[in-house]
């Protein structure tokens, strides 16, 4: 299995989109090269803007562009794209429901050795609470490409979160994705593992281990946190009863919380959340940071078995 970061999927797809549609713009904030917009900058300079290290005006400029029929992708790191400019996103993109996309690399703990300032564990929760916003984290390179394309084609504000670090490819290039529709990667009725982003690979590995032990679990790639695929979650609760969620995000206000809300509304099912334990990270290897929070194949297996 080859390894590639999902920020590369964004970088490759945005160039393709920009060549097809002259209204696709990139608004960089001086970390374009790191966020993989270098090729776009070179190929499509008339559709590229760099506002400097100034995320707040990046969001505002993007909103202004959007009022003129342009589809701007504001590109930065997740920590800055979700927090430095969150009020501009709320006021100038979400409130007027403008066609602004926020595309962020360095999601979760993937900026590992950069330390806690650059790791971002709060973003999807923060953005999910704003009306009109769509929140997406693809699980691999090919799904990143497909979901970037889908985001460009969906009217309204969308937040996309990518990995800095390389992760395994899960999907082939022809796989189809729809915003708000989970991808079922395996079926089973003993339990379900609902994951997104860079943890989907761990969910698949855990399901393989469990299957070898005779436990059949369903695995869902919940790439869209908002709007959540309530139908798929409901079906998992109805069919499996036991749900384990996995995410490279704070367990507060992330995927696990969203899934638990569905179970609470139904008054059915049992949900266990695996994710960042409401604590800041540190400079350390990516896999170590995940392990410090129990985000491992082994812990997913143990957690599922404890529920059976």
């Amino acid at each position: 299995m080859s390894l590639i970061a999902t920020r590369d999927g964004f970088g490759d797809e945005i160039v393709a989109l920009g060549k097809e549609n002259k209204n696709i713009f990139v608004v960089d904030a001086d970390i374009g090269k790191s966020c993989k917009t270098g090729a776009f900058m070179k190929a499509l300079p008339e559709q590229h803007i760099n506002v400097g290290i100034a995320e707040q005006s990046a969001a505002g400029v993007a909103a202004g562009l959007a009022t003129c029929g342009i589809i701007p992708f504001v590109v930065t790191y997740a920590a800055f794209g979700s927090m430095r400019m969150v009020e501009m996103i709320r006021q100038e993109a979400c409130y007027p429901n403008l066609n602004v996309k926020i595309a962020c690399s360095h999601g979760g703990v993937t900026p590992a050795n950069d330390g806690a300032s650059h790791q971002c564990i709060e973003d999807m929760g923060i953005l999910s609470t704003i009306p009109n916003m769509t929140v997406i984290m693809p699980a691999d390179y090919n799904s990143a490409r497909k979901l970037v394309r889908a985001a460009a084609g969906k009217y309204g504000p969308v937040y996309l979160r990518f990995t800095r670090d390389a992760i395994p490819e899960i999907y082939g290039p022809d796989e189809q994705f729809e915003i708000g529709k989970a991808k079922q990667l395996r079926d089973g009725s003993d339990a379900a593992i609902i994951a997104n982003g860079d943890t989907v690979r761990l969910a698949i590995e855990a399901a393989e281990v469990l299957e070898a032990e005779g436990v059949k679990v369903r695995v869902l790639d919940m790439h869209t946190v908002k709007p959540l695929d309530v139908e798929a979650v409901t079906a998992a609760i109805e069919d499996c009863g036991k749900i384990v969620t996995v995410e490279d995000h704070n367990i507060i206000n992330g995927l696990g919380a969203a899934v638990a809300c569905v179970a609470a509304d139904l008054g059915k099912g049992q949900v266990k959340r695996i994710g960042i334990q409401d604590q800041f990270g540190q400079s350390a290897p990516y896999e170590r940071l995940l392990a410090m929070n129990g985000i491992t194949t082994e812990n997913i297996v143990v957690t599922v078995k404890a529920m059976l």
Partner: protein, 277 residues
Amino acid sequence: MQDISVSELKVIANDLRKKVVTMIYKAKSGHPGGSLSAAEFVTAAYFREMNIDPADPKWPDRDRFVLSKGHVCPIQYAALATKGYFEESVLDTLRKEGSILQGHPDMKKCPGIDISTGSLGQGFACGAGMALAGKRQGRDYRVFVVLGDGELDEGEIWEAANVCNKYALDNVVVFVDWNNLQLDGTCDQVMPLLDIGAKFESFGFEVWNIDGNDMQQVVDALDEIRERKNGKPKCIVGKTVKGKGVSYMENQVGWHGTAPNEEQYKQAMLELNGGAV
């Protein structure tokens, strides 16, 4: 640009002031002080300078108007109603449930609003984005941005100024309504602004320092700006009087966000109708 005299513009500005005071009196809330200080620029922009069509508020080639200090929307609503974007009777619904006239401008509800504002410091960057879109799309429109003096405290204002300079947005016309009062006190008390014109000059703007309540000076500045397609963004720093036109509101920080009572309303209308001060 429309052919209209300075004396006619003065009459319109006075009429807009009356609408502002009436609207806020009926709503029992709103921001009269900064609405009144900006009246000359708003009038000159809407009734003389801007290329707009009230029958087609989304016309792609229209000039844009960004009220970055969105809380003074009563003066913009008064201008829009007078221009015919909506019925003047709608002004009576300001800040009421279901109204198109929200407490701060809402582009999805009110025709003629080019961007929703209300959180200070944010509108300017949106205006820069509109101007940049015009340049990239080869459209000839301009973007008129009204900034409050107090919102110059916000860092995003200067980020947006950088964008105007870098991308040579000579289609941006900023008006700074320098009435020198913000919510908690004078600008000097809250956060000294020093020389606003010099600041904008150092950010690459061409600057006009004028009396922002003198219609002739506003018109003269706009006349000069119109012909200057030289790659430099424009800034008019208008020294103004907060509450201008209503004697008891003038230069009173307490009239930032207060509605007049019945007696005060009558007095304001008497003065604006040319009666005794």
